[in-house]
Symmetry: C2
Subunit: 335 residues, 2 copies
Amino acid sequence: MADRLSTLGSSELIRCLTEGFKITHASTLKGIGDAAVLRYGNAVLVVTTATLAEGVHFDLIYTPMQHLGYKAAVVALSGIYAMNAAPRQMLVSIAASAKFSVESLKLLYQGLQFACEEYGVDLAGGDTSPSVTGLYIHITAVGEADAGQTTGRHTAQKGDLICVSGDLGGAYMGVQVLEREKKMFEQNSLQPNLDNYAYVVGRQLKPHARKDIVEFFASSGVIPTAMTDVSHGLSGDLLHICTASDAGCEIHHHKIPIADETVRTAEEFYMEPLVAALNGGCDYELLFTVPVSAYEKIIGHSDISIIGYITGKEEGCFLMTGHGNKIELKSRINN
Amino acid sequence: MADRLSTLGSSELIRCLTEGFKITHASTLKGIGDAAVLRYGNAVLVVTTATLAEGVHFDLIYTPMQHLGYKAAVVALSGIYAMNAAPRQMLVSIAASAKFSVESLKLLYQGLQFACEEYGVDLAGGDTSPSVTGLYIHITAVGEADAGQTTGRHTAQKGDLICVSGDLGGAYMGVQVLEREKKMFEQNSLQPNLDNYAYVVGRQLKPHARKDIVEFFASSGVIPTAMTDVSHGLSGDLLHICTASDAGCEIHHHKIPIADETVRTAEEFYMEPLVAALNGGCDYELLFTVPVSAYEKIIGHSDISIIGYITGKEEGCFLMTGHGNKIELKSRINN
């Protein structure tokens, strides 16, 4: 029987689909994987793409078009920052069904424009096309990196510290709240009340890309050995680094940064906040590894947490709980 | 009342959506429009995107997945050639619903790989994601150009010759045949017989990008003043050049290249072959203008037709028929 798509994670699927392809140009430094790394003349360019599909990545019932435009840009730009590069240009393609008005797409582009201004990126191209149903947003981002300073996922070294910016699990709890309020509205026409969930809902609807962290790396002379953005949840993204780097890891429960509102909201949903941090995606924080020699520089940054360290592959990938228990890390999504 | 998307052509829509955006980086030579033109170091790069949506751009009933992969690449690469640049890298994003098997996507990637080999392009990145319904293929192509030799649509000059490669209208007649055979199969379970339509069906299902024409420009020292690929039909694409260049044009009916099989098929459908050439899109030939001084170089090329010349804006855009009649050019699609 033919393999269904759902049996493979996206990384595994891409590997499977592209195994016969060969790289022929000297300008292609790095092919299939996290992002394309190209060298033209003296410049090292990073090119990433991001697709947001209605019904899969967003629900227009509770996603304002402006927020959606901003978020789509953030998802694409976050991929550039995760390569330790600075985004410069963006191309935006929209496929929209006839249900969308020009005005609603204008709101989407207002959100894109806001992101362009905030992250210092030029909208340099793109197109629109019809779709049979729904809205698809596809963004290509072009960034510039210093030669030899791009970071992939496959270069974490045994002994490296595992670090994460900001806090985790908020976006996941945000979508739980939004889905609950959507149901309440559909069933009882109750207007949503999001006053007590401003932080987690904001994490879902208007995430930020961590430009500041990449700028901190440049100013402090830190070059991460490996990096990714947290789009699939800490567990999945860290396993991705470990698998690609042929390494293991040990992270500590009480070191994982989770915001108070995320904890409170998780408890309200009878969920363990840690589960939201491990398995909830879309926080767009940066997860990276650095050599132990960078410890002093990292520890001085108030918004970076050191959560563990890279071990040998044979040691496996584990979360240490406060009670001395060791839990094997598993990815909710095969990414 | 809000404007519906269908009231605006895609170029007009993009202009409307992006009017407030500003270019801030020196590396962005050319923003919104045909393609992004970027300068990094000494290199001039052209970046284009193409989206193919199931039910809009292709019908899987009669489109083999391998052909689809090849065609998607051709559509993207054709956009690079139309800028007088050479494609180098491609990033491919697929959004596919659960109905697709890994095997079917592998066929799609085989078609992509075939195009990569034929056009000398590296697959340098991309991703896959789920979609609620159908298949979306999004390709970003990166090409390299010689400084000062990229061509847009807005730089045709009065007196320039209007030229087109290959022949036109074939892809349009191909889709008419395929749609007829699809209906016959659905209504009467009649197996399609495409033996007499190999050329026009091939033009629809497996178009080629005119790499050879751009190589001819380089080897013969011709730099077109304006260029586009024929994706919306001769009429629409020529009007696009004229509008962007603030110019008019005069083209001659009997100079427009139409293949014998296209003529025969059109007659079978009680259609005027010229209508297929003017209004049918997706031939992916190159439509370009050159100064009269390039006449001798162009006339020596067996697969380029000179079909008319650029006039002043005030003279309008006209097709001259064989009987001395003048017909105003209109675009079927507002592009």
